[in-house]
């Protein structure tokens, strides 16, 4: 349809001549040049970000496979769970926390770090998408992935372990959103300040630390005493504890969990915005 190679030009000695002629025809189709609507640019970019995230094997594993695997493992073995409560009510909030952490901090941080190294951020910033559009698209793709994670974990918990939604679901969504913002800010802070390889290492290290210390699969009260004060101020701990409260029959979230999470979200966002470098 769009092949505009002239048959006469093809006979020319120089192979490039017909393509050059075709180029001029290509660049002048009917219709005024201009940017596409902002929403269309945003959605196109968000789609690519999401596709790329899921196409990368390790991202797929860390965001979708690992939380489900850990949920099944701990729920089936019943280790390190306070025995007064059904284990799934303890584990599901922990795995939701881990899921939001993996998509917000791990995946976003690593992919953004490498995009910065490859000049992708720079190039997109110079396109009609703009830097603001790029950030919006990243937020949208991370949210879409998190929706997928929440649905997947909820379904596994309900089908395999008889979990039923109760408590204050809206509060849980609010907490997840605040947690997502916190971890995304953390990922962007590292991606914008460190070399991509360093970001990769730091993000994976933090993930392990948060997994062990954040009350995700192991209750903080089971940790060695000297480390408990540190563990309790981590953003992961605030999110997992808050979610446990929201999803409990009382549906109450401790004010300290909200406050701690908000402080982390605000602090990390300010740091990320201040230190982010696009190149």
């Amino acid at each position: 349809m769009s092949r505009t190679r002239g048959p006469g030009a093809g006979a020319a000695a120089h192979a490039a001549v017909p393509t050059a002629a075709a180029l001029v025809a290509l660049l002048d189709p009917p219709g005024e040049p201009g940017p596409s609507p902002a929403l269309r640019r945003l959605l196109a970019q968000a789609r690519v970000e999401l596709v790329l995230t899921l196409r990368q094997g390790e991202n797929f594993v860390v965001t979708l496979v690992l939380p489900v695997l850990l949920l099944v493992f701990f729920a089936s073995s019943g280790i390190a769970v306070p025995h007064r409560r059904p284990s799934i009510d303890f584990l599901l909030p922990g795995m939701l926390t881990l899921a939001v952490l993996s998509s917000g901090m791990v995946t976003l941080g690593i992919t953004t770090g490498y995009q910065r190294a490859y000049g992708v951020l720079k190039r997109l910033g110079g396109s009609p998408l703009s830097r603001a559009g790029l950030l919006g698209a990243k937020a949208l793709s991370v949210l879409a992935l998190q929706l997928l994670q929440v649905v997947l974990l909820g379904a596994v918990a309900a089908l395999a372990y008889g979990w039923r939604p109760h408590g204050a679901l809206l509060l849980a969504v609010g907490l997840l959103a605040l947690g997502a913002a916190t971890f995304a800010a953390c990922g962007m802070l590292l991606a914008g300040a460190l070399r991509a390889e360093v970001t990769l290492g730091v993000v994976n290290g933090l993930y392990l630390v948060f997994l062990v210390l954040g009350g995700v699969a192991v209750s903080i009260s089971h940790l060695p005493g000297f480390i408990q004060p540190l563990a309790r101020v981590l953003p992961v701990s605030a999110l997992s504890a808050g979610l446990r409260g929201a999803l409990s029959p009382t549906g109450r979230v401790a004010a300290s969990d909200w406050a701690l999470l908000m402080v982390w979200a605000a602090g990390l966002t300010i740091l990320a915005v201040r230190s982010f470098r696009w190149e």
């Binding site: 075709a22 040049p33 929403l39 910033g125 110079g126």
Partner: protein
Amino acid sequence: MIDRSGGERGADPLVPAIALDGVVRRYGRTVALDGLSLEVARGECCALLGPNGAGKTTLVELCEGYARPDRGRVRVLGLDPVADGSRLRWRLGIMLQAGGLYPALRVEEVLRLFGRFFAVPADPMGLLEAVGLGPRRRSRVKQLSGGERQRLSLAVALVGRPELCFLDEPTAGMDPTARHSTWELILALRRRATTVVLTTHDLEEAERLADRIAIVHHGRLVACDTPRALRGAGAESRLEVETAGPFDPGRLPRLPGLGRVIVTGPTTFTASTDSTAAAMASLAAWMRDAEVPCSSMRVGTRSLEAVFFALTGESLSAGDGGIGSPTEPAGVGREGGSG
């Protein structure tokens, strides 16, 4: 939200594509641009020529809105590239010096993505054919060679049908075939009256493609003119002679019309002259009598390399990683260039 401003397009063709006025840009203690002024007209192809570190990329990136000048004024299509970014970006085609493409995406996915940023993009598949990447459209970007990446980057720059293209070292890392077809594409852009600003440290490239060459050195504009005018400035002609066997030009007597003789190789020498016909006649007569067989004798003008050296005191190719092939005396034998 929708920052379309179609009404401005071509509203005033008298507004230059680029106008830099006394632009200073520092990076730390390094002065990248030192009070540079330059104007590029609509539809013009302007080559920024200079060695690495001359300030070419800084100049281009100020125009693209990636940075602000410390002093002076930058206007692109009459707009401030930073403050008016959303009204300007869709009119520009940008090819960065390196990178800028997702390594994990397929070639066609990259071009489709950038195409979606525009209301009526150029057909992505046709564009890939035009840059010679049709057969590679399903490949991942990371599988492409350096030259293929450059060509994809060029296609990305063109997918929005820009009025003004910034091509930062468009043929760096390309093999000679790819280089020549890229030149053809840039010449096609020129015929379409797309304004092109390209940077290069390849004299042949500048001379082939550009209406005007701006020589940038230590952040300053040291010359800006057509290739022909640059070579002609203060030029004296010279004779380039090659003998069939080894020859010592010290044997040459003073001959009518022949100026200073410079040995350029075991069988080659050049001689300056203000009268090429007289110099050729007397040299040919002497060689016949002295039985020195001559295999080539031709008139050359000053090469751009020599012009560059005279203006900057530096060689373009010195200390460079070998992009391009400056061994070939640029300009010689192609008087008049392509402009």
